[in-house]
Subunit: 654 residues, 2 copies
């Protein structure tokens, strides 16, 4: 009995873990790494053929979570706390521990046959699970990258009609209410208690209880059970996006986005962190700037959907570690200097008002945890939205930005790291660089042959206006095309002027100089314009991109070596972030930003952070999945890797 | 395995209950009522003879709690959460369930020998427990009515010197700190996280963690571990008392008391409740009046003891249900009208700032739970201080005031009720009545015999000044003496003037009239003063007292019948409340306020509510004991007893 595996769970989970009797005669316990296999047989409807589903999950996950994470519905109203006793399944495979809740739920025969409450059975070894037909058909929504999510929001509403108290029934108001929703075990906030007696009596004891997770946050007169909303925030360094959700249907009602009001303090996280180091008031002002941004967006989406902000009971926030710290008013300084330490990986559940939001006064804020100072909650949300931890394929997740986050999964092990890509992708240090806005060149096609029917230079410009500059994807395209036509050699240098006409006659004249720096002119306002007035790509710009892509490819190269994988093993590359969705897979491959693979294996995943935030609001299970990622993903720090620089140099070549 | 007793514990306890494996082969499980017997063998010191102690506790209590409640010390640093693994004991008697924590703590041999963690073993049947010698000698303090309390405050401080982070040790600040105090499992508030990075670095990672219960509420630079304070409040309707405690030594540093600033709204709870019913703003003003009272007292005690209010990390509040509701801003209306319903019996743990206090910003407020609308937290605190639930004797607890609370214990069962004593004891409706203040007659001795060496009337006056009126105890004394000398008959009527000289020659002349009401003059300002200017006792005053004592004695009579007890069975009567401590046992017996017993069995317990509040601050165990009382005590509602009025009439006679 002494070889019980040490638990790998949070305090709460350890408490629930306690519900497990030591699996005395269990098969050799799982060593706590890798995955376990669960074979589900789901009785969809009486009569219908049951469906078979195999899933792999980290050991220790409950059968209920494992099912929900994979879109398999099991009855439940309590959200997996062993209180509603609805999530009955039959489990086979080795000895399955018993809990007191099982003992109170099933007959001895049923227990002997393997019936258990799915929310209390931990998958410590491979199991076969029979799921009976659902008594209630759960709602589901499709979010993230084709993820089917069963709706089990933390926000629940229960309409109850209570018996009025009498001298022979002097139960307190709270007891009376909680007894009517006894499938939940709730705490109650003082603010609710203050109003409770009046609300109950003015409503003739017909009230709607508003629950967030395990807390009773409001009691409303009459039946308001259909009205429950939440807002998902993707708090980017540059852009902030808010999505208002109807939690009853899982549908987004309104979306709004705006630039982060912290911009005046600097374009990237480092400049904002240094701002707090130079000026003691800056932290407070940055916090307020974040709050103002979130407030404005919340007002916009509520106004657009005509939703009363007081009916928004929860928000979710996904941002990188610095944005998260600033929004919460946590001093970010240690994030900015080696050894790059976070104050905490998992911020405590806060109130929306802690973020400066004016929604329901007790509205909760669930903040995505961070894996490291430079692999933040936005990436964790992205992994959730892309199901990085629930996929047997070898997948590479790359979020390209000033800081580039990379996650690699071989189906069992998950590695994550951050590569300092530098400002190239934000169009920062690029001479004619600009953000992906109207006038930005986002695609470039070069035709070296004078006699081709194509124009020598074909530009895709955002907003179809006169080109004003190059955004990140245009930059990648331009360099990729120049490498393809041979005007830029593998070392990243422009070929000598003398050689240009021989290599690309139709383009040679565009290779010229601005000051004493060699440039390639992409767009001339008019035929005889001075190169300095044109949109061009300079030798130094190419170096910038070169360094960025070298950093990134060094990142995934090192991760792939750690998992003993070769480029061709990668079955899917997910390009994330607003930049990733602009980037053309072909050019990304051509400059070596991603491994050399069939283009179709490279998927632009879009704003996955926002999708992950939505999922956390729609499903407690998904939220716990995000927390579980902290345990599952190994964070690899590159900056102290002795071989980093050699690899970096190797990767410089195009 | 299906006959597990349903748990009778709070959510948290149910969670911990989960740690128990179903006692498959256990002896017939306890039916969940009455008590179980625990026989402790305590190895005081190596070499010394072990002491034997038998204790009786409600089933389900952990062995650790049972020991602490009875002053038996067992090693522990985590406060009984199964995390520090120090509370090792050897348990015998039936099969004792195992927990995973036991499995991780003991060898198989030790487990077979019955070694367990005392904080996880629930006493579901009689047990014998061997307690090894203490590795650390715990501090203890004597509080309440001779209660020895082992110091285990919810407020703990831990000084730690942490290793500075490096690239190879990027643990977050919070992880780093918590790892150094891993015998506790803590949550951390956002407010602490905001300061954490700066505090840790400015203090070179040498900091003191301040913990309240399971929450990290502060991190202080350097070693402040010796400085921790708390304030116990006895929030009376009339008087409020504050005691500042040094939690390191358990000693009170300062005590202050003042009149409740809610007085202007009315002298008793009913008038204050009606105030809120008549004026919508009154609740807010009453809440602020309570806050102002508590603030002023807190300032006083901190100033007197020269303690920085920021070093007060917790307060405890004991008050009746109405005072508690008003202090928390909870609408008290349902308490004032039948069927007399509370909003909640156990207010959630709040912040001291919720009570309007300006101490440490995260200082907690632990509020005593109430048994009923008229048996409030002050009585629960009183039961704690007097150990009503830990005593095998038959005991009667009477808190005499406008509302009189009565608790009866036969050593197993605990009953509580409230009797509407009316204002007599507050000197309210009494013609010459006054509060127990300077000038109040508190004792009366009458000498009927003309030739006795004693004066006919001997008065004990508070402050040794000219008598101004009668306080409650003086009233009881006066009536008792008049009954004794025969000037008042058993029905409570003054004897006819004609009979007086024959009955009590030395006093007959004092039996006269004010208006058309018969009175007995207790004090004359001067020999020929008009009776109306004297301090006297009127016929109606006697009726007031008669009704009050009838209500009270009806209360305990009904409780005694319910437990099938006779007066002589009562081994101790505890007279509580500021009034109880003035009341002379002899007179209380003589008028039938308490059962007819040897005077020595009647103990004046003093301000037990305040003592209970102190105990809750000094010991988590005692605090849990108070919560447990909610389960153990049966509240008896008198107002719907059909036989109440008959009994009441029976009890009217003196």
């Amino acid at each position: 009995m002494t070889d019980i595996p040490e638990p790998r769970f949070s305090l709460d989970e350890v408490r629930r873990e306690g519900l497990l009797q030591p699996p005395a005669t269990a098969r050799t316990p799982h060593d706590g790494t890798g995955r376990v296999d669960l074979a589900f047989t789901v009785a969809d409807a009486p009569g219908k053929e049951p469906t078979q589903r195999g899933v792999r999950v980290p050991p220790g996950v409950t059968v209920f979570d494992a099912a929900s994470w994979n879109g398999i519905a099991i009855d439940s109203t309590c959200g997996g706390h062993g209180t509603c006793r609805k999530c009955k399944v039959r489990v086979e495979g080795g000895r399955v521990p018993l809990t007191q809740h099982d003992v109170r739920t099933f007959s001895e025969k049923e227990l002997a046959d393997g019936w258990r409450l799915a929310c209390l059975v931990r998958a410590t070894h491979d199991l076969h699970v029979d799921v009976p037909p659902l008594t209630t058909r759960p709602k589901a929504a499709t979010v993230g990258v084709g993820r089917q999510v069963i709706l089990r929001p933390a926000v629940q509403k229960r309409y109850v009609e209570l018996a009025e108290p009498t001298l022979s029934d002097q139960r307190t108001d709270l007891e009376r209410l909680l007894a009517a929703i006894d499938d939940l075990e709730l705490t109650c906030d003082l603010a609710v208690l203050r109003r409770l007696p009046k609300v109950m009596r003015e409503a003739d004891f017909k009230v709607t209880a508003v629950v967030v997770d395990e807390e009773l946050v409001e009691v409303e007169a009459g039946d308001t059970s259909a009205v429950r909303h939440a807002i998902a925030f993707d708090l980017g360094t540059t852009t902030v996006v808010a999505t208002l959700l109807d939690l009853d249907t899982g549908t987004p009602l309104a979306v709004a986005s705006m630039l982060n009001r912290q911009q005046p303090f600097g374009g990237d996280v480092i400049t904002r962190i240094s701002a707090t180091m130079m000026d003691p008031d800056a932290l407070g002002r940055l916090q307020e700037a974040a709050a103002a941004t979130l407030r404005e967006l919340a007002d916009q989406v509520c106004a657009e959907a005509e939703v009363d902000p007081a009916h928004v009971y929860e928000v979710a926030l996904a941002g990188n570690a610095t944005m998260t710290a600033l929004a919460l008013g946590i001093d970010p300084e240690p994030l900015g200097v080696a050894p790059f330490v976070m104050t905490t990986a998992s911020p405590p559940t806060a109130l929306a008002s802690d973020l400066g939001l004016a929604l329901h006064p007790r509205a909760r804020a669930t903040i995505f945890p961070s894996l490291g100072a430079y692999v933040g909650g936005d990436i964790v949300a992205g992994m959730l939205a892309t199901g990085m931890d629930r996929d047997k394929r070898v997948r590479l997740f790359v979020d390209v930005g000033t800081n580039c986050e990379i996650v690699l999964s071989d189906g069992d092990t998950l590695l994550a790291t951050a590569a300092p890509a530098g400002p190239a992708f934000e169009g920062g240090a690029i001479r004619c660089g600009m953000r992906a806005a109207d006038g930005a060149i986002e695609t470039v096609r070069l035709e070296p042959d004078l006699l081709a029917e194509h124009a020598p230079v074909t530009l895709g410009v955002i907003g179809d206006v006169e080109p004003r500059g190059l955004c990140g994807s245009g930059l990648v395209d331009a360099v990729a095309e120049l490498v393809k036509v041979g005007l830029v050699d593998a070392s990243g240098r422009y070929v000598p002027d003398a050689d240009a006409p021989g290599i690309a006659p139709a383009l040679a004249d565009r290779l010229t100089k601005v000051g004493d720096e060699r440039v390639f002119v992409l767009h001339r306002p008019d035929a005889d314009a001075d190169p300095a007035e044109c949109v061009y790509l300079s030798q130094r710009d190419i170096r910038e991109l070169q360094f960025a892509k070298a950093a990134i490819s060094t990142g995934w190269t090192l991760l792939m070596e750690q998992l003993d994988l070769r480029a061709e093993d990668v079955q899917q590359v997910l390009l994330a972030g607003s930049f990733g969705s602009y980037l053309s897979p072909a050019s990304a491959i051509r400059i070596g930003l991603v491994p050399t693979l069939p283009v179709l294996r490279i998927v632009s995943a879009g704003n996955v952070a926002g999708e992950g935030a939505k999922m956390a609001l729609l499903s407690m299970r998904e939220r716990e999945g995000a927390r579980a990622l902290l345990e599952e993903v190994t964070y690899v720090e590159l900056s102290d890797r002795p071989d980093f620089n050699d690899r970096f140099v190797e990767q410089l070549a195009f």
